[in-house]
């Protein structure tokens, strides 16, 4: 589904490369965890997949379902099923969460040539998902992420994911800032979305999240490279030994 080959990236107008040759293949139905210390390039990778400005791709390619992902605008990527759950969700004053979701879903459906969802159907859809994620109705009326607590923001991200039903979910540090109860709710939400035709890339610093979202593959990212890949047991090993050994290896 997703194929990253020899991806080199630097921040525009800066010399230093942040990603220095990433190779990664994610198949439908698979959950990949990408772990790494701060500054290893994890968030950059997520932004590159979602199409954020400000980065220069100096080499390599990313294909998604056989298409050149890097050639697509952020909204085209979203419409084709790529979803990034932001580490720091953005506040949009005055735009109610419900309204935002409706516009996003309509735009995506339209781009895919699908019919408009009727308003009652949409409301039912959102309310149902919200209930599962313990997102209360009041939050849906509030402006997108404005005044939300850290946990509320993360739950709102997962709610968006549940409503938009993407085929590739990229979760950037979704566990940061969550207490154990909130983490469980978020993880349950994510797990409910696991399916044979949906892939997930879970980016995290800590192994903790992976106790709840059990990955099929774990990759260690250090200094812009994947330095080791393995099964879910790799996460436990990292938890025990830390990243120090890999940092030397990548240097």
């Amino acid at each position: 589904m997703l194929k990253i080959e020899n991806l080199h990236v630097r921040v525009e107008d800066e010399e230093r490369e942040i990603l220095r040759g990433i190779d990664l293949e994610v198949g439908a139905g698979e959950v990949h965890a990408i772990m790494g210390p701060n500054g290893s390039g994890k968030s950059t990778l997520s932004y590159i997949l979602a199409g954020r400005d400000g980065y220069e791709i100096t080499d390599g390619s990313v294909t998604y379902n056989g298409e050149d992902l890097l050639d697509m605008e952020p909204d085209e990527r979203a419409a084709s099923g790529v979803f990034l759950a932001f580490q720091y969700p953005i506040e949009i004053p005055g735009v109610a969460t419900m309204q935002f979701l409706k516009v996003a879903l309509s735009s995506q459906r339209k781009a895919r040539g699908e019919g408009e969802l009727s308003t009652p159907d949409f409301m039912r859809l959102v309310r149902g998902k919200a209930e599962q994620l313990k997102v209360n109705q009041d939050m849906l009326k509030r402006p997108v992420n404005v005044g939300f607590s850290g946990g509320e923001k993360k739950r709102a991200e997962i709610l968006q994911m549940a409503v938009l039903e993407p085929s590739l979910c990229v979760l950037d540090e979704t566990d940061s800032g969550l207490d154990i109860d909130a983490l469980r709710i978020v993880a349950d939400g994510v797990n409910a979305l696991r399916s044979p035709d949906r892939a997930m890339v879970v980016i995290t610093h800590y192994q903790r999240l992976l106790e709840y979202i059990v990955p099929d593959h774990v990759h260690v990212l250090s200094r812009g490279r994947i330095v080791r890949s393995g099964g879910k047991e790799l996460a436990l090993e990292l938890e025990k030994d830390g990243y120090a050994a890999y940092e030397e290896q990548a240097a």
Binding site: G54, D75, I90, I92, V95, K102
Partner: protein, 505 residues
């Protein structure tokens, strides 16, 4: 869902974004070109006005001759040749309002095209169907769930039709053209006309007082809650013609009325002048809600053509506990010069001003409000949202003052500006004058842009650039949109998308 509609509307439009730019082919009667006592007598004669009205007009004209065009606003335009304008133009055979079946079918078609319902069984185009429940907009909205709107349609210099007059009359509400009111209700007109905006108030008000040709008149008697939304649609059609309408609304003790006006004009290369005066009078415990969606032709991308909109709007909260609320959505006009104001004379009276001013292309907006606190315990609230794009300049100019005797006056002002692109300007010029210590004034202003993060976040959820801008701007102006009658909310959100078309990328 209004935003979705905004977006769809933006998509539908390609070259010609101003959808009201057509011209109606209709023969018109004109006054001789230019301004003189003769022209004023001509207009007064056409209206079959009593002598006192003509005297007032001529007085205003003489004052105007001695006045100079104001230059303090942050707008720049070539000097207007006031003798190169027709001050009166009316569709042939249409010197005043008629019953619907007598109105020229061309005119009916025009209003149909503009989406304005002149048949009483119709409701405003572009809004939800009569009786259809609101879905997502869980916040408040319109007062009148029926969706019924009475319309006074003003075409160039004359009112062509006023709807629902009989139904309103049953409630005691007078809703007619000002020309008709001068003839039919002279006692009310003489008592209140010029009592808020005198003939010599300012340059454009004096000009209007001399040549005003039509406009709306509303009187809501004591204790009456006007049973439906009242509205006036102003349409400039004829070439080289100015529109000078005069509106007078009186809410007698304990009454309530909500009134809205809309304005459009054809696309022309020359500039056309619109100099209106609106006077509102609220007596004890009365409330007037006045909403405007101003969508005059703004000129083309290079600043050619467009309406010069020089308007004096003022409310006198004359009675104790009276309340006036101005809501304006300004998207059109090449130049906007407009400061809807409240004189808070009655004790405990309240004034509100909610404004969205969007400028794009080469538009210049200088708009704001004045809240003059004279009575005790008066309060006012100002929420202004300015959005500048393209090469436009967008200025908020406002005054909040409390006189010595206005003890315990209160004001809260919030002025926010949003810039889209780096070729436009957004300016804030508030004046605050507190002449008593018990007045409590708070003023806040911010200027910012749509952040890259917000844009990216929206795009990552599937919105394209223009959709994202429309959505974020609609959020930015939400506080004001909520003040509009529900009939106008959706239309306004659409208009915002259209006005900002081409502002990104």
């Amino acid at each position: 869902m209004a935003d979705v509609e905004t977006i769809e509307r933006v998509r539908e439009i390609d070259v010609d974004k101003y959808k009201y730019g057509f011209e109606t082919e209709i023969e018109s009667d004109f006054a001789p070109k230019g301004l003189s006592e003769e022209v004023i007598r001509f207009i007064s004669g056409k209206k079959e006005e009593p002598e006192w009205m003509l005297t007032m007009r001529l007085d205003a004209y003489r004052r105007w001759l001695d006045m100079e065009e104001p230059t303090w606003a942050k707008v720049d335009y070539p000097k207007i040749d006031f003798n190169d304008i027709y001050y009166y133009a009316a569709p042939k055979g249409q010197d005043g309002p008629k019953s619907l079946d007598e109105v020229d079918p061309e005119l009916l078609k025009t209003y149909e095209k503009l989406g304005i319902p002149l048949k009483e069984q119709e409701i405003l185009a572009g809004v939800r169907k009569q009786g259809e429940p609101s879905t997502l907009d869980e916040e408040g909205g319109g007062e009148y769930a029926s969706g019924k709107v009475a319309v006074d349609a003003v075409f160039d210099s004359v009112s062509v039709v006023t709807t629902f007059k009989e139904e309103l009359a049953k409630a005691g509400v007078i809703f007619c053209s000002i020309s008709e009111a001068i003839r039919e209700h002279p006692e009310l007109v003489q008592k209140y006309l010029f009592s808020v905006v005198p003939q010599g108030d300012n340059y454009y008000a004096a000009l209007n007082s001399a040549v005003f040709s039509d406009g709306s008149f509303v009187y809501v008697p004591e204790g009456v809650r006007c049973p439906m939304e009242l509205s006036t649609y102003f349409r400039i059609n004829a070439e080289n013609t100015g529109q000078f309408e005069r509106t007078l609304i009186i809410a007698d003790k304990g009454s309530y009325v909500s009134y809205l006006e809309g304005c459009t004009a054809p696309m022309r290369d020359e500039n056309q002048l619109h100099a209106a005066v609106v006077e509102l009078i609220a007596l004890d415990d009365a409330e007037i809600k006045y909403s405007t969606v101003q969508n005059w032709y703004p000129g083309d991308a290079d600043g050619k053509g467009g309406i010069y909109n020089f308007v004096t709007k003022r409310a006198d909260c004359r009675g104790a506990n009276s309340k006036v609320s101005w809501t304006q959505v300004e998207t059109g006009s090449a130049i906007t010069w407009k400061y809807p104001s409240c004189i808070l004379r009655g004790d405990n009276s309240r004034g509100e001003f909610y404004s969205i001013a969007i400028s794009n292309g080469r538009q210049q907006v200088d708009s704001g409000t004045k809240m003059i606190h004279l009575g005790q315990n008066t309060s006012s609230r100002i929420i202004s949202k300015g959005i500048a794009a393209g090469y436009s300049d967008n200025t908020y100019r406002g005054l909040v003052s409390a006189h010595r005797k206005a003890t315990h006056a209160r004001n809260f002002t919030q002025c926010d500006s949003l810039l889209i692109g780096d070729k436009c300007g957004a300016h804030t010029v508030p004046y605050i004058e507190a002449k008593t210590s018990t007045a409590h004034f708070e003023h806040e202003a911010t200027t910012s842009k749509i952040s890259d993060d917000q844009m990216f976040y929206c795009q990552a959820r599937g919105l394209n650039e223009e959709e994202a801008v429309a959505l974020i701007v609609n959020g930015f102006v939400r506080d004001v949109i909520q003040q509009l009658p529900m009939e106008f909310m959706a239309e306004t959100q659409r208009l915002i998308g259209i006005s900002l078309e081409g502002s990104v990328g």
